[in-house]
């Protein structure tokens, strides 16, 4: 009897890491298959696939930022507002006639500084929870964005500024047609995600981010400067929101007051669907990518089938609840108490 239990235990221990790592990818592949069966002509066409990637491009940046914050058992509600403020700063600097290489770094700096402000508030002002600080800055940053722009859209950027969000990489040299181009934003997603995967899994700082999420007092007792790491995490989250703003500027050719409205909730949803745990310390970059893709494909697929956007809301909400319930079950099983 005992031996049988041991076998079960060891098989479980062997499988668990793979399920944790790749289970969400199975769901993604399943969704792609279902959509392909339902819409065989359209769904996997070059045009539609690149369209999905273009649609998730800026959301994927916000989700990655929020993911790092969630790994520390924190939350950032302000990413949508950071993106809007960064976009407005970009638009104003562009309209003032600054050269393009200045224009493209302004949203990154603005986003970084917003994140730094969040991080400093959470650690130095000792806010009881990041929820409160970033709820405050959700209003502060969007309000500031409207104040500096007068609350009106500012449109018209140069091609260099729009390159990351709008650029196309020509693939005719591969023998493909002119319409079969690679969006620059897709390449950007890949590059940013790979860099952050390396950062989180192979650097000491990345390991400490996971350690803080697992047990902040253990991290502190190990001599890790927890506040410094948290400030870095929130700053990077702001920086990624700034990249999101740059992509959005390219896609829409406009800075507009409603940019990124409620997108912080989409970003959190993508992380949760992708297996990040609100308890902290758990989740993978690959999972977040899968989470973003699942939400993107769901919206795209339902649009293709002409399903009302109200149903999209119901479905995305249901997926969040189910994903978290799976997380709860996994926690119950995976941890000895």
């Amino acid at each position: 009897m005992e031996e049988k239990d041991n076998n079960k235990d060891s098989l479980y221990l062997k499988l668990m890491p793979y399920i944790e790592k790749y289970g969400i990818l199975l769901l993604l592949v399943l969704m792609i298959l279902v959509m392909h069966i339902l819409q065989p002509d359209v769904f996997l066409s070059w045009r539609n696939v690149t369209n999905v990637f273009k649609q998730i491009s800026w959301q994927s940046m916000l989700a990655l930022g929020v993911f790092m914050v969630i790994v520390t058992a924190g939350i950032d509600l302000s990413v949508g507002s950071i993106m809007m403020l960064s976009l407005m700063v970009l638009a104003i600097v562009a309209k003032a006639g600054a050269p393009w290489f200045i224009v493209v770094i302004t949203p990154l700096i603005a986003g970084f500084l917003c994140g730094l402000f969040n991080g400093a508030g959470i650690t130095l002002l000792r806010m009881p929870h990041p929820f409160i600080m970033t709820l405050g800055t959700l209003y502060i940053f969007r309000g500031t964005g409207n104040l500096i722009s007068g609350g009106t859209p500012i449109s018209g950027f140069t091609d260099e500024v729009r390159y990351l969000g709008h650029g196309r990489i020509d693939l005719t040299w591969l023998g493909l047609e002119k319409s079969q181009y690679l969006p620059v934003s897709l390449v950007l997603i890949a590059v940013v995600y790979i860099i952050f995967w390396f950062f989180l899994n192979h650097s000491r700082t990345g390991k400490w981010i996971y350690a803080i999420g697992g047990n902040p007092s253990a991290a502190r007792a190990s001599g890790i400067n927890v506040n410094k790491i948290l400030i870095i995490v929130y700053s990077l989250c702001g920086f990624l929101s700034g990249i999101g703003a740059l992509i959005l500027a390219g896609r829409t050719d406009s800075g507009y007051p409603n940019a990124g409205l409620q997108s912080e909730l989409d970003a959190i949803a993508a992380c949760i669907i992708g297996g990040a745990s609100f308890f902290g310390g758990r989740g993978t970059v690959l999972g977040v990518f899968a989470g973003v893709m699942i939400m993107g494909i769901l919206r795209n697929g339902l649009n293709l089938m002409d399903v009302s956007s109200f149903w999209q809301q119901v479905l995305i909400g249901s997926i969040i609840v189910i994903a978290v319930y799976i997380d709860v079950l996994r926690r119950d099983l995976g941890t000895r108490k």
Partner: protein
Amino acid sequence: MSTLNNPLLEAKGITKYFGTITALENVDLKVHAGECLGVVGDNGAGKSTLMKVLSGLYKPSSGSLFFQGKKEILESPKDSQNLGLEMVYQDLALAGNLPIGENIFLGREPTKNVGFLKFLDFNKIKELTNAHLGKLKINVKSADQKVEELSGGQRQAVAIARSTAFNAKVVIMDEPTAALAIKEVGKVLDLINSLKKTGVGVIVISHRMDDIFSVCDRVMALFQGTNFAESELSNTSRDEVIGWIMGKK
């Protein structure tokens, strides 16, 4: 064992206030190489506060620490680690979501340079972990196992392994057996005895007389934040030590 006149670690006149509360008042403590000092006291007697002062987590309001005869000021746990002063916390201070090896090296991970970037050296972590666990005769399935999958005794063993992985000279343990099943207690006490043999000074805070009387050489009692009594273990008895905890001599 070195001469009893030269303590490895000595605290003199440690006082710690939290606002208007006096947690410690004029407390002295010393421990020698290869010796185990037991610290006993009722809840709120100041044991944990004293240990946190020794590990650099709290700064004392007054008093001084001497390590190998030299006065030291500890600004953070990093400073005490650099001296070779390690702490095993009651709540174990392990990150359950990380593997055993990464917990042992948390905050001090070996790295390798790839170009101008520094990457974690996972092979080295594993190698050093296996060697260290082997030296302490700690059995786990694999160094890659996550700590949350371990039993209480295994976790305590990992916490002790963590504290001794960097040539520790003094190891301070806060209630090392409090959360353990009875059959695991013996293993942890064996581990403490083997640490003593390697010349490490050990400080054990415990409520359990069994622990104190099976590993300690000397015992001191705190009562309401002050030194209350102290004795070589051979000159006292369980009943007397229990009396000290209650504040009776």
